[in-house]
Symmetry: C2
Subunit: 307 residues, 2 copies
């Protein structure tokens, strides 16, 4: 699956749009239409979320290789929200996009296997295969160790799918446990070394289907981690709204110009709320998103060509 993502990146740019719809970002005309159809309730919001995502995807699909829906933003609305997540994943795949499910799951043994089957694989009922959420990649939490991650890798191998393991997250308090030094290295470096080990068993061309998450807000750590995991693709959240800039991110990439993909969520999907894109207005949220993707592309590709 990573080779498919790379092929799409080479035709577009190493950027991913985070489909993290918060109620406050959804334009009034979409909410009104959805509430009229489904009621002012979670079903109505779920309908509006799907239409909102559809607008963003239709306006940006030719510019980007992938999207990253954040499942929490759907799960918060219960079953109707998760139906909107499911519809979003399927719609993005119809449009030819690679879908990274930002689910941060992680458990042990048969429980991790159940998550992996539900999001990346299939279950077998009466001899027939059924698929749950059908993402191409999922994010995975490493706190439980290899027992938690390997069931995901087994499914990745069977289904040609991929994972991104949390290594160094973008948030201010990520250092509380991740930065602790043990045997001469920080915890996130030990996790990175495991990512490299796990990934060696799951190669797909020059890169592995086992990637890593490293926040844009920690560029120096990105440089170190790039060396520890040379074959891992790095998913980089924290660009834009969280403070990361293109110039900070060059060390997340390898010399081949590959090896990382940078996510922006609010900076794209709520671009219309920024002064810079205010001319588009609320009704033009999708065009504002397209303009923001084009600007992000210039920023990232400019920084890479100046490397």
């Amino acid at each position: 699956m990573i080779s498919k993502l790379i092929e799409k990146i080479q035709k577009t740019a190493p950027i991913v749009v985070g489909l993290d719809p918060q109620l406050k970002f959804i334009p009034k005309h979409l909410l009104d239409a959805a509430y009229k159809e489904k009621g002012e309730n979670p079903e109505g919001v779920a309908e509006a979320i799907f239409e909102f995502n559809k607008g963003i995807v239709d306006a940006t699909a030719d510019l980007i290789p992938a999207v990253k829906p954040q499942i929490a933003m759907y799960e918060t609305f219960g079953i109707p929200g998760l139906i909107a997540f499911d519809r979003t994943v399927k719609y993005c795949k119809e449009k030819g996009l690679v879908v990274i499910g930002d689910i941060k799951r992680g458990d042990i043994g048969s429980t991790s296997a159940a998550y992996a089957q539900g999001h990346l694989g299939h279950v077998t009922i009466g001899g027939k295969e059924f698929r749950g959420f059908e993402e191409d990649f999922a994010t995975v939490n490493p706190y439980l160790g290899s027992d938690g991650v390997k069931p995901f890798i087994d499914v990745c191998k069977e289904e040609d799918k991929g994972i991104f393991v949390l290594v160094k997250t973008s948030n201010p308090s990520s250092g509380e446990f991740q930065d602790r030094v043990t045997d001469g290295r920080r915890i996130y470096e030990w996790v990175a070394q495991k990512v490299d080990e796990w990934g060696s068993d799951c190669m797909d061309g020059d890169y592995s289907n086992v990637g890593a998450v490293v926040g844009a807000t920690y560029p120096e750590e990105g440089r170190i981690l790039r060396d520890i995991m040379p074959r891992a693709f790095i998913l980089v959240p924290g660009y834009g709204a969280q403070g990361g800039k293109g110039a900070d991110l060059v060390h997340f990439f390898n010399h081949d110009g590959l090896g990382a993909i940078v996510n922006s969520s609010r900076g794209i999907i709520a671009a219309y709320t920024q002064e810079k894109y205010s001319k588009f207005g609320e009704a033009g949220y999708a065009d504002a998103a397209r303009a923001a993707v084009l600007d992000m592309k210039v920023d990232i590709l400019g920084a890479l060509s100046a490397k």
Copy 2:
């Protein structure tokens, strides 16, 4: 919420039944009936899962304070599976049980808040409150630090709910990162210290609504962690099928006889597959579960009274 759990424990026993239905454990008569009604597909399995859980709950509700459905086992069947999870949570609450959602979620900021609202709190749409999954407690992964956990605590305070933070998990590879020594203590001890800090802000009687998960398979670690987090209730998985025994677990409890609750999943819900309970047969799976709960109660309470 922890005071409600304690009150129920004092009337029953410090045990929780893990509702982790795997397809292979569901008796044929339930599958046949569900497939006939809904088809041999995820909807059919989801119906069978709910009926299976209902049987277990009806047979054991008078003996136990709480249940712990493992959401992965439902999520693996996609939306129909999650509907069965939702129905299970609601049914257990109707029966007066405390529900611990074993969801192991964890993200940052508004994303963790979204999970917390979806599982323990509510969303507001058009001035009205709507609730997603309505568990009483949720398990939370600490890898992202305070930014990931505090949004859950905020919801716990508003709604009188609780969380159990993963500290030392029951699986064989839990030591890969959790056991690493840094500044004289293991990572799980640092997490435990944070649990104590976080919990001090969220007290409900003698105990905190911020608890911890410590595996039954690590009794020595349980003794150490009990001291670091005196006010945290410890949720102890790994009893039975994973190898933990009552006598190993006494140090997870405080001198008041409280402070821990021991989970068994397969050992109860699939008791009928064990030689010991084979007389009940597949059709008697619920009675077998009741017998296994009674035996577990004798084992745990016996060990506690001998302490």
